[in-house]
């Protein structure tokens, strides 16, 4: 045995430096974009959770006598054709969209990630076939898929979640695939092969943790689109069903009134949708920036 056996003095690992996730959190908390978006989103979440306790009227209570009154001191945003208080409806109107859209996004993320890992990892014929199928799938508008699904499954929140989740999954799968294609060329994947690791271990234990950042970015971006899609489906009558005070649904049932000058029955719901989508997109922008600094 040589005398080199004594461990050379090694420096204490620099634990003072932030972990990669700490780094991301740090830059998120310093990003104005992210914080603004977060404030908007949190506002709507609070409204969804506790709105019914502080709104001035029951959002579902109709009062035909007071129907279609313009914005005033007792009805800030006016009333709709059934005399329901528009302000109260807008405040609690986020309840359904804020459960359906995130659930759909989570479904899309899980399905898309699994699919993307598989096609990115195996490449070859699996990738060729699945990728073409996904592309074909992506070419069909969500609305058509929704129409078919509703005919087949009937209208329910679950249908909406499944339809949006599955139609967004291919987009996430594509993002994951391209990240996996870069990762699988790294030597740690070869090292896993040289331990006879199974494909599942290599994909989910070795590669997955390293592709989380692009997945997170894509998920937040998708959430914005999912909100938009849920509102669209509701507007078309395929999504959330009455008597929910859902924004898309409210616009759908009132937009015929715009011609009559009753703009307030539609405008505030539309602004609400826009603000939530913008809020989520700002968050997505912030997350993207934090990971790509």
């Amino acid at each position: 045995m040589s005398a080199t056996d004594t461990p050379v003095s090694l420096p204490t690992p620099d634990t003072a430096q932030r972990s990669p996730w700490g780094e991301v959190l740090h830059s998120l908390l310093r990003s104005g974009t992210f914080l603004t978006g977060l404030a908007i989103v949190v506002f709507w979440i609070v409204c969804a959770l506790f709105g019914q306790h502080f709104v001035p009227y029951d959002p579902l209570a109709s009062d035909i006598i007071d129907a279609l009154t313009p914005p005033a001191a007792n009805h800030w945003f006016g009333t709709d054709q059934l005399g329901r208080d528009v302000f109260s409806r807008v405040i609690v109107g986020s309840r359904d969209i804020l459960t359906v859209a995130p659930l759909a996004t989570i479904l899309a993320t899980i399905a898309g990630t699994a699919l993307g890992l598989v096609i990115g990892y195996f490449r070859g014929i699996v990738d060729d076939i699945v990728s073409r199928v996904l592309e074909a799938f992506m070419a069909i508008p969500v609305v058509i898929i929704a129409l078919l699904a509703i005919v087949a499954l009937g209208t329910s929140k679950i249908t909406v979640i499944v339809v949006i989740g599955l139609s967004f999954a291919p987009i996430i799968a594509r993002t994951v695939r391209s990240a996996v294609l870069a990762e699988r060329e790294l030597d740690y994947v070869a090292a896993a092969k040289l331990r006879h690791e199974g494909a599942l271990h290599t994909m989910f234990v070795e590669i997955l943790p390293n592709v989380i950042p692009p997945i997170l970015v894509e998920t937040t971006v998708r959430l914005g689109y999912a909100i938009f899609a849920v509102a669209t489906l509701s507007f078309m009558g395929f999504g959330i069903q009455p008597p929910s005070p859902d924004w898309g649904l409210s616009i759908s049932s009132n937009y015929g009134m715009i011609g009559g000058g009753f703009w307030w029955t539609v405008l505030f719901d539309a602004l609400a949708i826009a603000s939530l989508v913008i809020g989520v997109n700002l968050v997505a922008d912030g997350v993207h920036g934090a990971f790509n600094d």
Binding site: M1, S2, A3, T4, D5, T6, P7, V8, S9, L10, P11, T12, P13, D14, T15, Q17, S19, P20, L186, D187, Y188, A190, A191, K193, L194, R195, H196, E197, E206, P209, N210
Partner: protein
């Protein structure tokens, strides 16, 4: 070689201090650096990574990153204070008088513009337009002795090899006829043969141009060949300066002494002793240094060194040393004892027997023979060194052994007498754990999401078949065998230095008691002192566990230190195979001769210089006859172009693929001074 025409110094740094702002704190990177480069002089700056070499270069042109700032001192280019220049004057200075050449020419050139466009652009900036600019660009390419300059003008950067790209980058740097040329590791990413060509070119250009050169390199031998004077940087301080000859032959700072000792030189071999290392680590940037910065790593350090910062002592003849005991520097004791147990003669049956291995890829419908008819054998405890330029098939051969790529049908790989399946998936568990690899780049080889404990435990579980308490015990043993400690287990790879990461990678390869470990350039990303420690570790593990290595490296000194046998590859074919000493001392294949001659030597002892012309041909379209004939300096005639020579036995165990008979090779290569083993 100093040109005394101009009196003004080309570059003068006075008390230059630079800091990088990290985590709201200014951390000193350069500390009061004084440095003068006279007109026409070539000045070399050496030191390990993190010493501040590149920061010096960036400061000179005020290209520091956004968080960097010059906290004190002054920089004068041609007598003009760079710090006082306004934006326009600074732009003019950068355009007219300073040029930089960076390490990676691929990144320095614009990938979407033709070479001609990029070159003429520089002249257009200087007011020359149209045909005149194009003519000048062509003249520049001629000047850097690129073959077919007119053709190169029409090409895009990716269509050129690394060496040609670097020539173009040098041409661009010289286009403005700079008075100061800064070369930051200009040959680091290049093959030894290409490096030699580029260095020759720089040497020739020096004689033609008046430019002063600041040459930054971690490679001491390169600097010793290129520069008149050299400065050694340590922790942002100049610790030694003097003429190149003096500093390298008679170093007066313990750090320089230690750096020089880390290099496997003069044909040193593993069975003749371990390499010396430098204990400890470079102080982190911004560290508060009391006393001498090197004291913690210096065996000569006394109380005085730890308390009192040494000034730059003037030793006469323009020599400077920042050491209180500069007169005793060379008595620095070794940090690693040289002696090792005598190696037993190896008579065991071969652990690895490769016969007629081929690998053909399809490249644009044409077969590309990456490995052709390779046969080697290796005994337990031996190292097979694989050498050759990039593209010679070294890595493909290693991947064939590992089963990561399947070879063509025919040919066989036998491990301890048993045939290895071509594909990894069809090999048995025992065979899989018996052949492992240490990759070149630990950042890619270690999963960045996993802790060191996870990485090593998983390897022990899968390769060692261990669980529970047994696994924990073995883990502790394994960690100690690569000289890490428990502390390192909890962290992620990114929290470790390059050398420590490579130790983890080595530990992983050894988790299942392998018979053969492929080492694919394991030290090429490391500093010399860390390289020495890793090479020692590999040699120790080998002598203890009787493991065999397949060692791939472009650094022939490193290969020679560790190898018992050498295979020289060219276009996937073995050109020479034999015991390490026989291959290195010659007579050898003309290609081996050229490879050896390309290695820059510290003592400038080169006698016969052989340079290979042109590029390594494409394996998809190899030359007829002997594949090396297009570049062979000893080509004898038509037979070389028509008939591929056999790998013929020159001496027992030593085979050479050449039409020139062995005795004739011996006669031709005789004038070359044989290095003492």
């Amino acid at each position: 070689m100093t040109d005394p025409r101009q009196a003004a110094n080309a570059l003068e740094l006075k008390d230059l201090s630079v800091a990088y702002r990290v985590g709201r704190r200014n951390r000193a990177v350069l500390r009061n650096v004084n440095l003068t480069i006279k007109a026409g002089e070539a000045y070399g700056l050496v030191g390990e990574s993190g010493c501040g070499k590149s920061t010096v270069a960036l400061s000179v042109v005020r290209y520091l990153p956004r968080n960097g700032s010059i906290t004190g001192g002054s920089i004068a280019l041609d007598g003009k204070d760079v710090m006082k220049l306004d934006a326009e004057a600074l732009r003019r200075a950068r355009a007219d008088s300073v040029s930089m050449v960076y390490q990676d020419p691929g990144k320095a050139l614009n990938p979407s513009l033709r070479i001609g466009r990029q070159l003429t652009e520089i002249f257009e900036l200087a007011g020359v337009t149209g045909q005149a600019a194009e003519d000048k660009a062509l003249a520049m390419l001629n000047r850097v002795r690129i073959s077919d300059p007119a053709g190169v003008m029409q090409r895009y950067p990716h269509q050129l090899s690394g060496g040609m790209q670097q020539r173009v980058a040098i041409a661009m740097a010289l286009a403005n006829d700079p008075s100061m040329l800064i070369l930051d590791e200009p040959t680091t990413g290049l093959d030894a043969t290409v490096e030699a060509e580029v260095l020759d070119l720089i040497g020739q250009l020096r004689r033609e141009l008046s430019a002063s050169i600041l040459f930054i390199s971690h490679n001491l031998a390169v600097v010793s060949n290129m520069c008149d004077r050299v400065g050694v940087l340590y922790a942002g301080m100049l610790v030694e300066e003097g003429s190149t000859r003096d500093v390298f032959n008679d170093p007066r700072h313990p750090y320089t002494v230690a750096l020089l000792r880390c290099l496997p030189s003069g044909g040193q071999r593993k069975d003749q002793g371990r390499l010396d290392t430098i204990p400890g680590f470079l102080p982190g940037i911004g560290a508060n240094i009391v006393g001498c910065a090197f004291a913690d790593r210096c065996a000569l350090a006394t109380e005085r060194c730890r308390a009192e910062p040494p000034p730059l002592y003037e030793l006469g003849d323009g020599r400077l040393s920042r050491c209180h005991y500069h007169d005793k520097a060379q008595s620095l004791p070794r940090a690693t004892p040289a002696e090792i147990a005598a190696a037993q003669p190896k008579q065991a049956p071969p652990v690895l027997q490769v016969e007629g291995l081929n690998k053909t890829y399809a490249s644009h419908g044409r077969p590309l023979r990456a490995v052709k008819d390779v046969s080697v054998s290796l005994r337990p405890g031996e190292t097979l060194g694989l050498v050759g330029e990039s593209g010679s098939g070294k890595t493909t051969f290693a991947r064939l052994l590992l089963g990561l790529v399947a070879p063509d049908d025919g040919g066989s790989i036998e491990l301890e007498g048993k045939k290895l399946a071509p594909r990894l998936a069809s090999r048995s568990e025992d065979q899989v754990k018996a052949v492992q690899i240490v990759f070149q780049n630990p950042d890619s080889a270690l999963n960045r999401s996993h802790s060191i404990r996870h990485i090593l435990s998983r390897a022990l579980k899968r390769l060692g078949g261990l669980t529970g308490k047994k696994l924990d015990n073995r883990l502790e043993e394994l960690v100690r065998s690569v000289r890490l400690t428990d502390r390192h287990l909890a962290v992620k790879p990114r929290q470790l230095s390059g050398g420590l990461k490579q130790r983890v990678a080595i530990a992983r390869a050894f988790a299942g008691d392998p018979r053969i470990v492929v080492c694919d350039e394991p030290t090429s990303a490391l500093d010399v002192s860390v390289q020495a420690a890793i090479l020692n570790l590999l040699a120790d593990l080998q002598s203890r566990q009787d493991v065999s290595y397949i060692f791939i490296s472009h650094d022939l000194g490193v290969v020679r230190y560790l190898s018992d046998k050498i295979a020289v590859l060219y276009l996937g074919r073995i050109m020479e195979f034999g015991p390490s000493e026989a291959v290195f001392s010659g007579p050898h294949h003309p290609y081996t001769e050229a490879l050896l001659s390309a290695v820059p030597k510290l003592d400038r002892s080169e006698s016969a210089r052989i340079r290979l012309d042109g590029e390594i041909p494409s394996a998809a379209n190899p030359p007829t006859g002997c594949v090396f004939h297009t570049r062979c300096p000893r080509k004898i005639g038509a037979i070389c172009e028509t008939k591929e020579p056999e790998l013929a036995e020159a001496q027992p165990g030593h085979t050479i693929r050449c039409h020139i008979p062995y005795d004739e090779l011996a006669r031709l290569q005789k004038p070359k001074a044989v290095e003492p083993a």
